[in-house]
């Protein structure tokens, strides 16, 4: 974690009525780094994501991308600043084809249709969706829609990709394929990835660094090995039993 962080989160907090959903959370994602945000249900992972992605503004703290403060910016501005995101509950443009879905993302910052279509094809190809390009998104299977969600976000050419539970509901072989895609992307293009995930198998294979949240607070961070040995993490997140392949 010596490289300059591309995404830096400094002490962000968010309170919903009586609930402190996120409490003074700080972490950083370096260029080309893959950081996982994990924690039990209700730990504040998705809220943290939404605070970064501009769905709502944090009560305190800062979000910086490439050193630029993007705290409290609207979601579309955050996207222009270089953050691409997926939604935990996928939100495909149902009546549009898979290709058109990705073209929408690729049109960020350009009106050049040919270039946008070319980029969209490349990304569909990378995610193994090229043969589904002409299908309307609502006719795709859930795993396909999850990949489409990623493809669309990638098409905006983000500096940081936020992946919100993209592995959920996938079969082990599909998870391995997704993991391979992300590992390759981050290695080849220097894309930084921040992900939340319940599928521990994917988290352990993919991430260089793990941040553990519990009740909105960061309780631990470090390499996968460090985190998986941390007694506090074992207690709150994995229960009393030692970590298995899947949580």
């Amino acid at each position: 974690m010596s490289a300059t962080p591309i995404l830096e989160v400094r002490g962000i907090s968010k309170r919903f009525r009586g609930l402190q959903a996120v409490d003074q959370v700080s972490f950083a994602v370096p260029q080309g780094g893959i950081v996982a945000l994990i924690g039990p249900n209700g730990a504040g992972k998705t809220t943290t994501f939404n605070l970064i992605a501009g769905v709502f503004a944090p009560d305190t703290g800062q979000v910086l991308i490439d050193g630029v403060d993007i705290t409290g910016l609207r979601a579309d501005r955050v996207c222009h600043a270089g953050i691409g995101r997926t939604f935990q509950l996928v939100k495909p443009f149902g009546a549009l084809t898979a290709l058109e879905n990705v073209v929408v993302g690729a049109l960020k910052g350009t009106t050049e249709m040919t270039a946008a279509r070319r980029l969209a094809w490349e990304i569909l190809d990378r995610l193994g969706l090229a043969d589904k390009a002409d299908l309307v998104a609502r006719s795709l299977t859930l795993p396909e829609r999850k990949r489409l969600e990623v493809a669309r976000a990638l098409a905006t050419r983000p500096k940081v990709l936020l992946l919100d539970e993209v592995m959920a509901g996938l079969r082990p072989t599909e998870i391995d394929a997704m993991v391979a895609v992300f590992a390759e992307l981050s290695r080849d293009t220097g894309l930084a990835i921040l992900l939340t995930e319940h599928v521990m198998r994917a988290v352990m294979m993919l991430s260089h660094h793990i941040v553990v949240l519990h009740h909105g607070q960061k309780i631990c961070e470090g390499t996968p090995e460090m985190v998986s040995r941390d007694p506090q993490v074992l207690a709150c997140y994995l229960g009393k039993t030692p970590p298995a392949g899947q949580a």
């Binding site: 996207c79 995101r85 309307v136």
Partner: protein
Amino acid sequence: MSGRARDSAGLGVTPRAAVALAIFVLLMAVAPFFVSNYVLSVLVVVLFAAYFGQAWNLLMGIAGQLSLGHALYVGLGAYASAVLFVRFDLPPWLGMLVGMALAALVGSLIAALSFRFSVTGVYFALLTIAFAEFTRVLFDHFGWVGATSGLFLPVANLAHDDLLFLRGSTAMFYYCLLVLTLGALALSRYLLHRRIGYYWQAIREDQDAAQALGIDVFRYKVAAMALSAAMTALGGAFVAFYNNNLYPDTVFAVGQSIEIITAPIIGGLGTLFGPILGAFVLTTLGEAMTSLSGIFGIDGLKQWFYGAVLLAIVALQPAGLWPWLRARLGLDETRR
């Protein structure tokens, strides 16, 4: 249905579809030479419905924003051009520009007001009705433009059509409206192929996802409203000059707004040709019903019919008639 893309928006034109469009345009172009004056006047009504339907379809069918108050823009376009003609002898083409600018401004204001405060969906629809009604009442008391007693355009019996001042035969209006309708078709198709068309559809499908992809949702929704309003106002000018009279209670009426939206719904929301097809089906069948109710002496048969057809189509072809007919005619795109 395999789920193969049927191209929701109707992009891309197959050779077959191009031929079909050419035949349609040709038939429409020569129609005035072969049909009676009555049929021609029915076709004028068809084209009015088709054109207004297209303007509304751009907002609702493509950008997904439901306006139930488009009569407002018909009225603004009609009054702007008519008043400037009656009071200042200005050619309606100039008045049209004024009307379009005014409608775009009013539409933008309504949209901006609504979307800024997150008034969307049915609440937005209610607001559009409210503004149309409010304007109707305003014009009811606007003496300078005739208030409730209406505004009348001088009818001149000319030997030739005067295109500059839009005084002339039904055929002249027919051709004007045909050009408008085909122009609206071309414009809609063009925009659908551009970034703005993709963005509008993305907003229609899922606003949050659209915003997360960098789309300034507010700006694009306001733009859709402004364009749709301006197009509607352009048609409104022809309403004034075709009818030669204007009453706030007709031109701004809720009924007018509802009539505008039926053709695109019946024809196929969000499709390019749906509003035109819907206009043909509803107007011709409506005319037939009117004459039938004359023969049988049953009042209101037309309205019953409208209701029944709407129900039947919504039940049997919820996507509209055009997607169904397009498949029947073999005009569906096979891509690449």
